[in-house]
């Protein structure tokens, strides 16, 4: 159990949390949930994850601000932005992420990206 890679999942939607948690736990990862940016930063500092899946449009601090704060502390931490919207790609703050994946019912792209960064 102890050597399972840890994913911090940051999303304010309960449905996404449940779906992603189930999928990634089935894949053998340990999943921690944060429902907003502030909570995510707290958890990130207290119990450092191996990878972060980060929503952008959340109440309070948005995902791009969270991303920039996390990368300031751990530039090598892989962060995958996962948003329902394409338009945040215009914000160059998103460049700090490893990937920007648009949410979809098909999770193959997201799973592939997670494997890529956690098996590297």
């Amino acid at each position: 159990m102890a050597d399972r890679k840890k994913i911090l999942l940051v999303d304010d939607e309960e449905g996404i949390q449940l779906l992603y948690r189930e999928e990634f736990e089935d894949e053998g990862y340990q999943v921690q949930s944060a429902y907003n940016g502030e909570e995510a930063l707290e958890m990130f500092k207290k119990d450092p994850p191996d990878l972060v899946i980060l929503d952008i449009n959340m109440p309070g601090m948005n995902g791009i601000e969270v991303l920039r704060q996390m990368k300031e502390i751990r530039p090598d931490l892989p962060v995958i932005l996962s948003s329902a919207y394409q338009e945040y790609k215009q914000d160059f703050g998103t460049w700090a992420s490893e990937e920007y994946i648009v949410k979809s019912a098909n999770m193959d792209e997201l799973k592939e990206a997670v494997h890529k960064y956690l098996t590297a």
Binding site: K71, K89, F92, A96
Partner: protein, 333 residues
């Protein structure tokens, strides 16, 4: 009494809504928001950007994408248009479509995060104008592209998402509507008068001297007769030329001087004012055009665009360009 004014090139009407006593300090500018945190454009973080397509100032012997540089140009990491593929133009009844092919690049204008473009030293700022030329020349070799739009967003209200000083260019497989209108408008004038309308504007503005903000041996900055926003300015070369890429090093140096002065005057009038600037130049691979004249347009963001503007195409500008010019000229630098 409000006044309607017509742009002589585009035929676009605007409304000058004179408001008594309107001064630069009456325009509310949001404080520049510095969010801080990791910056993907800063030296040391080169691996967060795609590999550079152009770099200036790298120390000899240092590898590509290493952290010693004065200016970098990199493709957009998450582009709206993609560089690979064919256009595959198709008709669908009366509608046209094609694949979203294009090049979107970011010019990182300085290695220093806190630098502001208007206050860059001459030797640093000129690199940006050189990079614009070099990238346009390179992209013009790609037959899929017809135009390269060069622009800068400064400040959140003008669309900038990062504080680190940068500008952008987008190579497009079509001519933007605004470019077509400008080319058509200037051609129509040329056919009628056998003169370049931009050259005529420069001549008249120098003579009248009521909208001429500043000048040097090669360039003039003026507030146009029918501006869309308060403090809109055009920077125009005195000598006729339709292509920005034809400018020599001496001309780029003079352009740097006047650009710096123009933006500093603007910032002194309304500190921290957000703005966009856009390069207007001839389409790629075009022969020299007698009717067209390259220039930069600087459009500050101090007014909002609402239903009337969207519906009519009219802009409502609360400050006459003659007043704006006076403030810009009189301000102490």
């Amino acid at each position: 009494m409000p006044e309607l004014r017509k742009d002589p090139i585009l035929g676009r009407w605007i409304i000058i809504a004179r408001e008594r006593g309107k001064r630069p300090t009456d325009f509310i500018v949001e404080d520049v928001e510095t969010k801080g945190g990791f910056c993907p454009l800063c030296p040391g973080n080169e691996k967060t950007t795609p590999p550079e397509v152009l770099v200036y100032g790298r120390e000899p012997g240092m590898p590509p994408n290493s952290s010693s540089w004065q200016l970098r140009v990199v493709p957009n990491k998450y582009p709206a248009l993609v560089i690979e593929g064919e256009l595959d133009k198709q008709g669908e009844g009366l509608y046209d479509r094609m694949n979203g092919i294009g090049a979107h690049e970011v010019i990182i204008e300085s290695p220093r995060h806190e630098d502001r473009f208007a206050y860059l030293p001459h030797e640093q700022m000129i690199l940006t104008f050189r990079a614009f030329q070099e990238r346009i020349r390179d992209l013009s070799k790609d037959p899929r592209f017809r135009y390269v739009m060069v622009f800068k967003n400064y400040g959140k209200a003008a669309g900038a998402s990062l504080e680190h000083s940068h500008s952008q260019l987008v190579a497009l497989p079509v001519l933007p509507r605004m470019v077509v209108s400008e080319l058509d408008g200037s051609l129509s004038y040329f056919k009628y008068k056998d003169r370049c309308i931009f050259c005529d504007i420069i001549r008249q503005e120098i003579q009248q001297d009521v909208r001429l903000v500043c000048e040097n041996r090669e360039f003039v900055t003026l507030t146009p007769f029918a501006p869309r926003t308060p403090f809109e300015m055009w920077i125009m070369p005195r000598r006729h030329n339709s292509s920005y890429t034809e400018q020599n090093e001496d001309s780029l140096s003079a352009l740097t001087d006047i650009f710096s002065e123009t933006l500093r005057r603007l910032d002194a009038c309304i500190p921290g004012i957000p703005y966009n600037f856009v390069l207007h130049t001839q389409p790629l691979r075009s022969q020299p055009l007698e009717h067209y004249h390259w220039h930069f347009e600087i459009v500050p963001k101090v007014t909002s665009i609402a239903g009337f503007e969207w519906g009519s195409g009219f802009y409502i500008n609360p400050m006459p360009p003659e007043d704006a010019c006076r403030y810009l000229r009189e301000v102490e630098l």
